[in-house]
């Protein structure tokens, strides 16, 4: 054991405190707090979790246990253009996996990773509910429907 030192900017600490306080630091609001923090910071780095732990009096290990349990939470920053490929069943039977492979090949990264230039990150997600458009790809807020592996280059070109 040793004492742990966490460094964060003051405005960031204040923001976290503001968020935890808005939920009265109640333990059962932890997931809502994490959502808010991820919304603000884009991801949940260790430092942020430490401050939340301090404010809400919840062991950091427990918070980390929760962050790693839920796939929505991430500890790595996403790319400027986060690419999500739907891997719901409808998209799967209509070739979603091949589309995912094509994105991986084109960008040279695996799902869950971000390109070195920080421009793109790939993740697969479970059913956005747009099964009529399967296979579906989301880039940021924009939805691409009926995507074929051949379309991938063209789609990426929009963001380069």
């Amino acid at each position: 054991m040793s004492s742990i030192k966490i460094k964060l900017k003051k405005q960031d600490i204040d923001k976290i405190k503001e968020i935890t306080a808005s939920f009265n630091n109640e333990e059962h609001e932890l997931i809502n707090v994490l959502h808010k923090c991820q919304q603000h910071f884009g991801y949940l780095p260790a430092e942020v979790q430490e401050v939340i732990s301090d404010e809400m009096d919840i062991p950091t290990a427990k918070i980390y246990g929760i962050v790693t349990f839920y796939s929505f939470f991430t500890m790595t920053p996403k790319g400027k253009n986060p690419i999500s490929i739907c891997m719901g069943t409808a998209c799967y039977v209509r070739g979603g996996e091949k589309v995912l492979d094509e994105f991986k090949k084109e960008l040279g990264i695996e799902a869950g990773q971000t390109t070195k230039d920080g421009k793109f990150s790939i993740s697969s997600l479970r059913c956005v509910g747009a099964c009529g458009l399967a296979p579906v790809v989301l880039i940021g807020e924009k939805t691409y429907g009926r995507v074929a592996p051949d379309d991938v280059k063209e789609i990426l070109a929009e963001y380069k």
């Binding site: 054991m1 742990i4 966490i6 964060l8 260790a46 301090d54 290990a61 790693t68």
Partner: protein
């Protein structure tokens, strides 16, 4: 009382409402195998995630198999515990668990004590189907000063998580990740060293497999023993003698003090001493401190903080340094017996024997894993030479004795060496919860009143309740005493101290449930409270058998003060026998 009638394996029985199938079966001699389940009711410890699914049984009318550990008996229930369906399911589930478990039993520190290994033997597992294509979940090995985490061997029984969070409220460990890669780990899967871990070792004490083990220091001890230039001095903690025998097949609660001494001598230790001696010394220092604080308090000194808190338990010290640093002036400044012993051995005794500090090696045999960390603390060394060089646990000593091919059971009874081997009954009871404060009471009473204490047994301070309290009459002065064992219980008392609501004059705290007898370095109790109770009983028996039962009557303690230290809390005593505490709370620093 409501009772329930049911049938288990064609036997009819009646149990109390709320009894689990597992316990009901146990009551008629059917021992259903379990892996994750652990219940130590008297200590309020229960781990019942119903996760291993080994204890499943068939319940008539139920679609699937029921986990017996966490399914309550119902009226007219018909339970079968060993049908082909049950056995097939248990075996297949065990094969699943084994398929994600390293097969290095031959070199595993837990080999022979592993509940998973036992289960595999019991179930007659001969091969693991599909092994050749089975991915294993692998993790980074983590070594800390006290504990090694080898999560490849974690079976997600969650016992450690329960101990760390619910029982100890330390919160160093949590279940992390999900599914196949789920494990129990510190935040960010960092090393324990970078977590709020107190090294209490309770996680190790309950781990059924080799996932959590102590750092083995016996190789270093052997190196020193082999070095002719070194004088190797060993001290043995009170709780060790009450449990060591278990490792050699003796009944729990068998006292093996004499055999242990002989074994240590045969292993080649130059001097076999007793930590109990240092425990007596602790009482002198701590008792004096208590009386001083008490009288100042009674005189109205507002600066004085009461209650005084015992400080012999290193896990507890780590705990308050991390979670209650604001109270770091409250505990007694007296070092723990282990460290007092080291300090005295390397000063008083070394001088007496004319051994140079660097040529003396002090080894401690401890029921504890936090002691390994404690002896490595910077403040307990002089010019980089630690007062206690190495601390090994009861388990490590047992392994060492076995390695040396010593037939423990047939060993003759030996006697500790002098001067640091003589102890009183007060020193012995340090090993059980309530013992330190009872020992302190025996001495403080006589110091304060100047009278002879007729009845040395303070029965009201003994027992297994997590938080206990008693008022001891110091000849008209009522002294309120609080006792907590287990850090979760300690936290309750500490919260009151912090808020100023505590009514106690003195509080004894032990990190481990049961006190040192239940320490993280003791032979595995596998969740059986009876073993802890037997050890405690052994400790009190040893106390009873001692001719001298009050620390201040120990002749060698008297000699130590008269020839060397002067008097308790003297300047030299302060230098050698007292310490200070540090703020180890997590710091959040503003990055400009």
């Amino acid at each position: 009382m409501d009772t329930i009638k049911l049938t288990i394996d064609n036997k009819q029985l009646e149990v109390e409402k709320g009894t689990s199938i597992y316990n009901a079966a146990k009551s008629i001699g059917i021992d259903i195998p379990v892996l994750c389940y652990m219940s130590m009711k008297d200590l309020c410890i229960e781990n019942k995630p119903a996760g291993c699914r080994i204890c499943v049984v068939e319940v008539e009318g139920r679609r699937n198999l029921a986990p017996s550990c966490s399914t309550d008996c119902q009226d007219n229930m018909v339970v079968r515990t060993h049908t082909p369906r049950v056995l097939n399911a248990r075996k297949t589930v065990l094969e699943f668990i084994l398929s994600d478990h390293p097969k290095d039993c031959l070199v595993c520190p837990k080999s022979g004590h592993c509940e998973l290994q036992d289960m595999a033997v019991k179930m007659g597992i001969r091969k693991i189907p599909g092994e050749e294509i089975a991915e294993m979940s692998t993790y980074r090995l983590d070594t800390s000063p006290s504990i090694i985490r080898d999560l490849d061997k974690c079976i997600m029984c969650r016992r450690c998580e329960t101990m760390c969070n619910e029982v100890q409220t330390v919160g160093a460990l949590s279940a992390v990740n999900r599914g196949f890669y789920a494990a129990v780990a510190p935040a960010f899967e960092q090393n324990l060293e970078h977590s709020p871990c107190t090294y209490c070792g309770q996680c190790v004490a309950v781990c059924p497999t080799g996932a959590l083990t102590e750092v083995d220091h016996t190789p270093e001890v052997m190196t020193h023993l082999a070095d002719p230039k070194k004088t190797v001095v060993v001290q043995t903690a009170p709780a060790v003698r009450a449990a060591l025998g278990e490792e050699f097949g003796l009944e729990p609660g068998t006292l093996v003090t004499g055999k242990m001494v002989t074994a240590l001598r045969q292993l080649g230790f130059d001097y076999v001493f007793d930590t109990d001696f240092a425990a007596d010394l602790t009482i002198m220092e701590e008792g004096t401190e208590l009386l001083n604080r008490l009288s100042a308090h009674l005189k109205g000194d507002k600066e004085i903080r009461l209650p005084i808190l015992t400080s012999c338990c290193p896990g507890w010290v780590n705990f308050f340094e991390t979670y209650f640093p604001d109270l770091k002036n409250v505990p007694s400044t007296s070092k723990s017996p282990q460290q007092m012993f080291g300090a005295i051995a390397k000063s008083y005794f070394a001088e007496k024997k004319e051994i140079r500090r660097e040529d003396m090696v002090v080894v401690s045999i401890m029921p504890c894993l936090a002691k390994k960390y404690e002896c490595q603390r910077d403040e307990f060394s002089v010019d980089g030479n630690p007062d206690v060089d190495l601390s090994i646990s009861t388990r490590e000593l047992a392994a060492f004795i076995k390695q040396a091919n010593i037939d423990f059971d047939s060993l003759p009874e030996g006697e500790f060496d002098n001067p640091l081997g003589e102890s009183t009954g007060a020193g012995v009871i340090f090993g059980a919860t309530g013992g330190v404060i009872e020992a302190a009471a025996r001495t403080a009473y006589e110091m304060h009143t100047g009278k002879n204490l007729e009845k040395v047994d303070f029965e009201q301070l003994r027992g297994m309740d997590g938080v206990r309290e008693a008022t001891v009459d110091f000849d008209g002065l009522p002294i309120n005493i609080g006792i907590a064992h287990g850090l979760g219980n300690a936290r309750k008392l500490l919260d009151d101290v912090r808020s100023g609501k505590s009514k106690y004059h003195a509080i004894e705290i032990m990190a481990c449930p049961g006190g040192c007898i239940g320490g993280g370095g003791q032979p595995q109790h596998h969740g059986q409270t009876e073993i802890l109770k037997a050890r405690a009983a052994a400790i009190y028996t040893e106390d009873k058998n001692k001719k001298i039962r009050k620390s201040h009557e120990n002749p060698f303690i008297k000699e130590l003060y008269s020839t060397y230290l002067g008097e308790p809390n003297s300047e030299l005593a302060h230098k050698l026998l007292h310490t200070k505490y540090f703020d180890k709370k997590k710091k959040i620093i503003v990055n400009q």
